[in-house]
Symmetry: C2
Subunit: 373 residues, 2 copies
C-alpha cells in the first residue's frame, strides 16, 4: 500500500524523534523538544517537515516514528496520518541503536525484504527533491547489502559530527554517486576534524542511515550481541498481546549507544559502509548560532527573528531573537546577540557562547527546577 | 507644628515628582515613573526615600509634593502622611520653574518668612545625616537672601548636569561651607564640561535649590515675568473655592522651562547664588549604566541585580539585570550587558548604549503603542 506512484518498493522510513536539544533551551524543553518546533519559519514543526520530505518515497503507511511516551500526543497531533502500526513508544530514552534497531527488528518481521532509512526528526533540509534523489540512490545501494549513509560537504571542523572518508566509487545501478566508505570516525577531536576537513576526502555524516533491516541487525548482532538479542525479543512480541509485558522486561536493561558506534564504525571497518553525497542544504541546528546562520542565510551582521507575530525593535543590533511571548523586545547596540524569550525563562547570550547553553540546563537540573527544563 | 525637635523653623520642603525617566524604560513608565521605583533595593521607592530623608528637618506637615494628576493615588499610597494642603497636582507637566514656583507662591502666602528647599523625588542619596547637615547650612544661607544650591564633586564630564563655579567663601553663621557662585552653566557641551571638571573649580548642581520663597519668586519675576504672574494668580486662588477654575485657566498657558535657566543662571550672574558643597554620595540614576554602577558600588565586572525575588543564572557575565517578573533570566558570556525584564517589554542593551534607550521610547511613541510607554 503506497500512496504515490513514485514510492520506492519495500522501503520504510524511520523517524527517531528523541533528543530534547538542550543547546536550544529555553526554546527546546523536555515537554516541547526541538523536533516539535518550527525553527525555519516554514509554519511546520521540524518533525512535520521531516515527514513531508520523505512522504513521496514511502506513502503515509511507510513511515515509522520512534518517540518517548510523553510525546505521543504531540507527535500524533503533528502527524494525524500516523497509524498505531507505525508508532514505537519508548518508556525511557535508549539512544539511537535501540530506537532504530527496534524499528528494524519490527519491520523485518513484517517484510523480510524491507530497506529502512532513518531520518532525524530535528534537522533542516533545504531541497526536498535533491534529498529524495539522494535517498533513492542510497536505497539502491542498500539493496546490494551496504549500510548506506548520506554524506554532507563539511563547512568547518565541527567536533559534533561523524566523519566519513570516501573511497572507490561503487558501480551500482540507480546509484551513480555511491562510494565505498573506507573509514567512519564519530565525533573526532578538533585537531583531527581540522585535518579531515583540510584533506577534502571526508564528508560529514548527516545522520541518515539507509540499509536492509536484516543487514543492519546483523551489524548490531556482531558489535552488540546483547542489545541485538533484546531488540529481537521485543520485536517478536511487538505485534502480539504480550508486547508491553516484554517491553517492560527488556527495554530498561538495553545498552544506550549511538548507532554511529554500533553500526557505522564497524561496517566501515569491514568494507560494508557506503555513502551517497548529498547536494542539498542541510543543518542540524545544533545551537542558537546555527539557528542565526540558518535564518539569516549566513549573512553576518543581520538580526534574525523567529516567532510568529514577534515584536522586535532593534537598533544597530545583530544576532538572533526567538520570541515565544507577545512582549516587545528592544535591542540597542548588541552584536551577535542571542535572545530567547519564553513565558517562564529568558536567555541572553552571544553566538560565540551558544554551545555553552547546555551548561545552563545542567545548572537548572542541579537546582531541582525541573519545570524549567 | 513640627514633628521633631531638630526641625528647622520656617523651612518647607518641596518634592517635585514629575519626570518619567525615559532612559530607564521599560522599568520607568508613564504609569510608574522612576520616582515610584525602588532602584537601590532599600525596599522603598525613591519618593519615599526622599520623604524620609528630609522629614527630620521639616516634620510631615512641612513637605509639599508637586506631581501629575495621574500619579495622585500612587503618591498618596507611598506617603500616607501627606495632607491635602501639601499636594499640588499638575494637569499637565510644565517643567520645574512652574512646579517649584507654584509651590513657592502658595507657601509664601501661608508664611511670608518661609524658606523652601526643593529636592528631586528620584535621586539616590547615600548619607542622610550628611545630607541634612548640608541642607541646614543651605537654609542658613538662604535666610540671608541667597538662592542656594547644593553642589556635588563631579566624577566625569557629564553633559547632563548644571555646573557651578565656586567663588569666595561666604561668612554666614551656621554655614561654614557656603561659597558664592560666580557662574552657573546648565548642561554645557562635552568640551566645556571636560574643561570645567579638569579645572577643579566647578561642582555639579545636584538639583537641590534652597531659597526664601519670596526671593525665588523675585528671580522668576525678573527673568520670566509672565510665568511669575501666572503662578501668583494661581497661588492667590489656591486656598479658595475657585482654585480649579483659575488653575484650568492659567496652567495650560505657562511656559515650560527648567528652574536652572529661569532662576539659577540669572541669580549666579547677579551674585545672588550660593553653594554648599555636599559631602554625601549622590546619584541621579540617569540611565541603566548609572544604575549598574550604583548597585555594584562602582565595581566593574560585577553583575548587579535589581528586583525582589529576581531569579538570575549568570555565567561569566557583567552589567545589570532588572527583573520585574518571576521568569528565570539566564546570561552566558555577556559583558556590560543591560537586561530589563518586565511583563510586556524586554530591553537588552549594553552600558555603553544606555543613553540611547530614550530613542526606543521615541520609536514606540511614533508607533502609537502608548500602552508600552
Amino acid at each position: 500500500m503506497r500512496a504515490t506512484a513514485t514510492a520506492l518498493p519495500d522501503f520504510h522510513a524511520v523517524i527517531p524523534a528523541g533528543g530534547v536539544g538542550s543547546r536550544l533551551w529555553p526554546l527546546s524543553r523536555a515537554e516541547a523538544p526541538k523536533f516539535l518546533h518550527d525553527l525555519t519559519g516554514s509554519g511546520h514543526t521540524l518533525l512535520r517537515d521531516t515527514w513531508n520530505r520523505v512522504l513521496p518515497l514511502t506513502g503515509s503507511d511507510g513511515i515509522m516514528v520512534v518517540t518517548g511516551r510523553a510525546h505521543r500526543a504531540a507527535v500524533e497531533a503533528q502527524l494525524p496520518e500516523l497509524t498505531d502500526a507505525n508508532i514505537v513508544l519508548e518508556s525511557e530514552p535508549k539512544d539511537s541503536s535501540a530506537a532504530i534497531g527496534l524499528a528494524a527488528a519490527i519491520l523485518v518481521r513484517r517484510n523480510p525484504e524491507v530497506v529502512i532509512g532513518s531520518f532525524a526528526a530535528d534537522h533542516v533540509i533545504g531541497d526536498a527533491v535533491a534529498f529524495r534523489h539522494a535517498v533513492s540512490e542510497a536505497v539502491a545501494v542498500a539493496r546490494e547489502g551496504y549500510v548506506t549513509t548520506i554524506g554532507m560537504t563539511p563547512t568547518e571542523p565541527s567536533v559534533g559530527f561523524g566523519y566519513i572518508c570516501c573511497g572507490e566509487p561503487l558501480a551500482i545501478e540507480g546509484a551513480p554517486h555511491a562510494q565505498l566508505v573506507t573509514r567512519f570516525v564519530e565525533k573526532p577531536d578538533l585537531a583531527t576534524a581540522t585535518e579531515y576537513v583540510a584533506s577534502g576526502e571526508y564528508l560529514w555524516n548527516g545522520g541518515m542511515f539507509i540499509a536492509r533491516a536484516d543487514r543492519l541487525l546483523e551489524e548490531l548482532a556482531q558489535s552488540q550481541p546483547e542489545l541485538h538479542t533484546g531488540l529481537v525479543r521485543i520485536a517478536a512480541a511487538w505485534d502480539t498481546p504480550v508486547r508491553s509485558q516484554v517491553v517492560d522486561a527488556v527495554w530498561p536493561g538495553l545498552l544506550k549507544i549511538a548507532i554511529d558506534y554500533s553500526v557505522a564504525e564497524p561496517a566501515a571497518a569491514g568494507g560494508r559502509l557506503a555513502v551517497v553525497r548529498g547536494t542539498f542544504p542541510w543543518d542540524d541546528v545544533g545551537d542558537f548560532s546555527s539557528l542565526a546562520k540558518l535564518l539569516s542565510n549566513g549573512r553576518v551582521g543581520d538580526l534574525a527573528i523567529l516567532g510568529e507575530g514577534a515584536r522586535v525593535l532593534a537598533d544597530s543590533s545583530s544576532g538572533v531573537v526567538v520570541s515565544r511571548t507577545s512582549r516587545l523586545i528592544s535591542l540597542i547596540g548588541v552584536q551577535d546577540i542571542v535572545v530567547v524569550d519564553t513565558s517562564d525563562a529568558l536567555l541572553v547570550t552571544t553566538r560565540e557562547n551558544a554551545q555553552r547553553v547546555k551548561s545552563v540546563v545542567d545548572a537548572i537540573k542541579q537546582s531541582g527546577r525541573d519545570d524549567l527544563l
